[in-house]
Symmetry: C2
Subunit: 177 residues, 2 copies
Amino acid sequence: MSPKKPKIAVDMDEVIADALYKFVSLYNRDYNVPLDLEILPGNEIHHHVPEHANMKWFEYINEKGFFRDLPVIGGSQEVLKALQEKYEVYIVSAALEFRNSLEDKYDWLAENFPFIPWTHIMFCGEKIVNTDIIIDDRIKNFIDFNGRKLLFTSPHNQLITQYERVNTWHEVGIKLL
Amino acid sequence: MSPKKPKIAVDMDEVIADALYKFVSLYNRDYNVPLDLEILPGNEIHHHVPEHANMKWFEYINEKGFFRDLPVIGGSQEVLKALQEKYEVYIVSAALEFRNSLEDKYDWLAENFPFIPWTHIMFCGEKIVNTDIIIDDRIKNFIDFNGRKLLFTSPHNQLITQYERVNTWHEVGIKLL
């Protein structure tokens, strides 16, 4: 038997799935928010929309279909596939927050990451995972995690300095392959 | 801040949800398998059905609705509620094996265990959870788990002797409360 591979937990939204793009598209449709909106470091999308619409994201994200057609974040497919040679790669998403995201996320993964088996997908709330590495854009998921933490850059986390950061999947590949 | 509570991972099927009862009911409907069928120690339900029907469980379990109306296993609601005083109680189910189980399991938990918040529900494949205790009927989920393992009795595991066993939720309460 070959020695066990180290385990990596990889987040979905803003790490392999571009939820932010979908939010901007929907705000553009409903409130003329520009499609090339630049989100200021430290801000969330709802900081950049008309005041009367700044809770609208909650409606969008709870709709069936929101998570089904998110663009894939560049390089994630190729790098995750390469990482599987050296690591057990788990997708770990806090999907339980949104009931209607469950099937959409399952189907999205089946379409875009067919090389990840069901045994390596986890939909959770708190990320109480026992892996060696975690790649995530939300530092709340790092609090009780004992392994190596890689903060995947997203506008909302750009002002955070105390964690090892990866800006792109190319950088993840350089660090881990 | 109060000290952190120990964490418990609790399985769903055959531990808090009576999937076996549903299987027997469906086999009864389709193949006259008796409703009071006694499953021999070490056997699965499909060992007790007509040979031409012994793969039928796979069809049943993949149908929408299978997991939506399972009976609650006796005592699980009361004991889990009591355990929450002393522990962080997480429900951890290998739901990703069956896409159509995701919403059913979510809705079933909301109906029968409304006191478990979404942050404490995990639908996974492999149970790579970082908890202090696990309660499960399948020993495959114990292999990489470092904490205390409680094997919840189900016919299929009755011949297994090397793990600490709990036969009922009353026994879980006596051990952990």
